[in-house]
Amino acid sequence: MRITQGTFSFLPDLTDAEIRAQIDYALAQGWAISVEFTDDPHPRNAYWEMWGNPMFDLKDAAGAMQEVAACRKAHAGIYVRVNAFDATRGFETTRLSFIVNRPKSEPGFRLARQEADGRNIRYTIESYAAQAPEGRRYE
């Protein structure tokens, strides 16, 4: 099951040229680029691991692309995303975020049902991949 989180996630994977164009767009808006990775694809897992510090004051996508390439190389088998942070007062938040690397196979989620008071059912989802310990999920 293909994870659809962030912008462009219903499209085919972006090529390097497309990623570069998106980063160039973000930089032209004055946003700061950062790279993050994780091996826990749960949709509520908002805080991924940071790959180095966010990159402020960049003018060209080359520097950010270098970090994207380095992170993909180090974490080839797991999820990597690029965030663009807008520091403008009133926004002060991520304006654009898209996945640039994903595992070869994504096993998807199990729907877990829990019987609660009376005959109520509580639903939750669990990633099949996340059942293995951290670091060994997409081997």
Binding site: N53, K59, D60, A62, G63
Partner: protein
């Protein structure tokens, strides 16, 4: 139908229209108009512009020459215009499509070298990332290398710099600047760096008449003018100042003018009971310059 040339590639290319398209002539003319003297520098800048333009024409004809390396070193005494030219260089390279963004990131040793082990590499890389798509200007580059301390982190910064200069030529242009004699020793102890720099440009000292022209231009920009006695004083001042130690070419002239403005203000203030005309507010008199310690 001609099948020899690939589609979209013509038989001839018009350099003049390429030149007009790039608007590089405007920058070059500005360089000529605003910077006094510096003949060898201007000549070299024109050569580089020509090379890039021809390279572009070749690309249109489908001839692959590879990106020429354009890392440079600017050597010259203080105040000879190294930073100003570097700024212009970034614009020119941008107009010619050699760098993508055309901004200038000016740094010194402090911005590249860290304070403890493991601090230097991330710091240098961050600066390099910021400079990508533009020009990285390293002022007083010889401070990067301190032979007296073999554990100095400067060497690490140089190595990272070398790697990027070699592998990411189309991402950024590095310009090293500094005083001639110290740059020579620096290059001698880092031959790898010297050989990766294609253009060694020397900035000559200004002659007295060039300095006078510079002074006039600076005053014009600040909306001042010299009275005849002021001009005479300036003509006398320049050779005297040149003979003194710590003479920093245009920078010394700028400082002298700033002090003259100070004295002019003081002079005008002393007779504050009278109304001042526009003329008086603009004019620097001989006495403003002659009060300098140079005439002592």
């Amino acid at each position: 139908m001609n099948t020899a040339a690939p589609e979209g590639i013509g038989e001839s290319v018009d350099l003049r229209s390429l030149l007009a398209d790039s608007h590089v002539n405007e920058v070059l003319d500005e360089l000529d108009a605003e910077l006094v003297g510096l003949k060898p520098v201007k000549a070299r800048v024109r050569e580089i512009a020509a090379l890039l333009l021809v390279e572009r024409a070749r690309k249109q004809m489908g001839l692959a020459g590879g990106q020429p390396a354009l890392h440079m070193s600017f050597t010259g005494n203080p105040g000879t215009g190294k930073t100003t030219v570097a700024m212009r260089m970034a614009q020119i390279l941008h107009r010619l499509g050699y760098v993508r963004k055309g901004h200038l990131v000016a740094v010194t040793r402090d911005d590249l070298v860290g304070q403890y082990i493991g601090h230097t590499a991330p710091k240098t890389k961050e600066v390099l990332k910021k400079a990508m798509g533009g020009v990285l200007f390293i002022d007083e580059a010889y401070y990067l290398y301190r032979p007296e301390n073999e554990r100095d982190y400067g060497q690490e910064a140089i190595e990272i710099l070398l790697q990027v200069m070699e592998n990411q030529r189309d991402d950024l242009v590095v310009i090293l600047a500094g005083y001639a004699d110290r740059m020579q020793t620096f290059f001698r102890s880092n031959p790898g760096l010297s050989s990766r720099i294609a253009h060694h440009i020397e900035f000559p000292d200004y002659a007295a008449d060039e300095l006078e022209e510079i002074a006039q231009k600076m005053l014009g920009q600040m909306q001042y003018r010299l009275s005849p006695s002021g001009l005479a004083a300036l003509r006398e001042y320049i050779p005297r100042r040149m003979a003194q130690p710590h003479f920093a070419n245009a920078r010394s002239i700028r400082n002298a003018l700033d002090r003259a403005r100070l004295r002019q203000a003081n002079r005008l203030f002393a007779r504050k009971d009278q109304a001042l005309t526009r003329e008086e507010l603009m004019t620097i008199e001989g006495e403003d310059l002659r009060a300098s310690r140079v005439f002592a």
